[in-house]
Symmetry: C2
Subunit: 319 residues, 2 copies
């Protein structure tokens, strides 16, 4: 079974009488009259991060990954809880110092505050982060409209190359190695864009499992399809180099996830204001495709105007 | 290192500028102007529950253990999140059905609603429960006053015997076996007492680590001591039988924790109203001792009016 199946088959009904759970399909809980937004995510060693050799970097990554769920929906995170399961070798004084230093740095960078959590003994290292924000408005999933433009912030794929380097699946020169590993550990969140998003995005999600996988999740309860243009999908100059050298291919690198960029759709009339706002904030923004009628099949068009067959849509959480 | 040391040495400072964290010393986050109360707890197989042979019972126990943190502070839990880490053998369809059935039953019993969570792959089974309630008032820790009476609800120790039976450390007849195992899996929370507590308790905590351990936590930032009378500490008739048979001793059985009864202190003038309220709600209540001046050493007095030397104060979360 995969995660979505578990939620649909066993947990959706449990939350059926509770409209604030958003059918467990939105990655957050939203209580409008309490202006309350909460997300909960668990990160396991060997699944969500390779190991704990660099506790300071792992902590930064998981904090950002967690608050990204709120930021992509137009909500500034304000508080967070961290619950860590570990043992004597993972929760050493040295590691705890590094964890606490990273938390302080992330708190400053993203204006968030530690509120509590738990520390428990386990021979398997994992963390659960609960992020809390206050807003009486959020951008929901499944609110795309036919003919909407599809946008994505920043670049995709850098993080996945960083992971491959760390896993020793790719060897690169020291400059590129440093670049991609840094991108893997430090997702570049766009906190300054968050509140603006509310004024133009019809629907949004953060890219954690891969562009295609998350785009399909974004509209999974709607009868809609999409058309994406591969050449418009933003990548860094450094990824372009690897593609030119045939070390990787573009379609695969944008489908690995872990990017934490914001994917959203907007009515075409918003195009100018989106460009203007993003320019003024220094946020790279790319129009990568269109939302289409359900009668058309979803498709990705390559540089030569040919349809691409999608083999691997992205990361699937399997059990 | 143990848990309190980790929090004090590495995390208290991280949350120092955030008054709502209550110095990470209260088991909950409380934001008065938002009327928001949140607790986060993680439960690991082999530490917080023995195994997953009875998923339905384990889930009930951890949900109750989590909402107990709010109930003991005068707050009704309203929402909860469950984040489970497991694998193919733990998250089978059969087990997921049992989990979902138990969640529905607990929701009905305690008027709580599932709001979200996460399901991730891990070979070590664990759950993190985030409980949320709304209240502009809570009962804090460390607000005891000299000469306060010390009260506890229900009976202590039943759960710890249930654990020993499950661990095959004690063998009992089938009737007692059933009784104690039931007490282990189904902590008896006093939801109806919660709101009343606000009107008479000066300070409160739920008993998870053991009576003495939790009493000391309750006043750990105050210069106070306590005097407890062993004979007043409430136990069930069934535990009394085991004590009479010298299978266990009272002091040890009340120090094992996992009781989820409410321990609180109150000004002596509240004595009559407490008795009256608890009687009308059908909640067993026992006055077990006094809060004393710091110049006196904390003490426990046995049936023969002698001081007891405390060997094991309760469960300590060690790393």
């Amino acid at each position: 079974m995969h995660e979505l199946q578990i939620i649909n088959d066993f947990f959706s009904k449990v939350s059926a009488n509770n409209k604030h759970s958003l059918n467990l399909n939105d990655d957050v809980f939203f209580h409008r009259s309490k202006s309350l937004v909460i997300s909960v995510d668990t990160y396991v060693e060997g699944v969500h991060f390779i190991n704990f050799q660099k506790p300071n970097l792992v902590i930064k990554k998981i904090i950002r990954s967690s608050i990204s769920d709120l930021l992509c929906k137009g909500v500034n995170p304000k508080y967070y809880f961290i619950s860590g399961s570990g043992n004597k070798t993972t929760f050493t004084k040295k590691n705890l110092k590094l964890i606490s230093k990273s938390l302080k740095e992330e708190q400053k960078k993203y204006s968030i505050n530690l509120c509590g959590g738990d520390t428990v003994f386990s021979n398997k290292l994992s963390f659960t982060i609960t992020s809390v924000g206050f807003s009486n408005k959020i951008i929901y999933r499944n609110k795309a409209k036919i003919n909407d433009d599809i946008y994505v912030t920043g670049n995709l794929g850098d993080s996945s190359i960083g992971l491959k380097v760390l896993q020793k699946k790719i060897r690169l020169n020291s400059k590129l190695t440093k670049y991609f590993i840094d991108k893997y550990f430090h997702p570049n969140l766009h906190k300054n864009l968050t509140k603006k998003l509310l004024s133009f995005a019809n629907t949004s999600i953060d890219i954690s499992d891969g562009l295609i996988s998350d785009l399909e999740k974004l509209i999974n309860k709607q009868k809609l399809s999409y058309k994406l243009y591969l050449k418009s999908i933003p990548i860094s100059k450094n990824i372009k180099k690897l593609i030119d050298l045939k070390i990787i291919n573009k379609m695969s690198s944008i489908s690995q996830g872990d990017d934490y960029q914001i994917l959203f759709t907007a009515t075409p009339t918003k195009s100018r204001i989106i460009t203007k706002v993003c320019k003024s904030l220094g946020v790279k923004i790319s129009k990568i495709g269109k939302i289409c009628n359900y009668s058309k099949k979803s498709q990705i068009i390559d540089e030569k105007n040919k349809k691409i067959a999608i083999k691997n849509k992205g990361y699937i959480h399997k059990f």
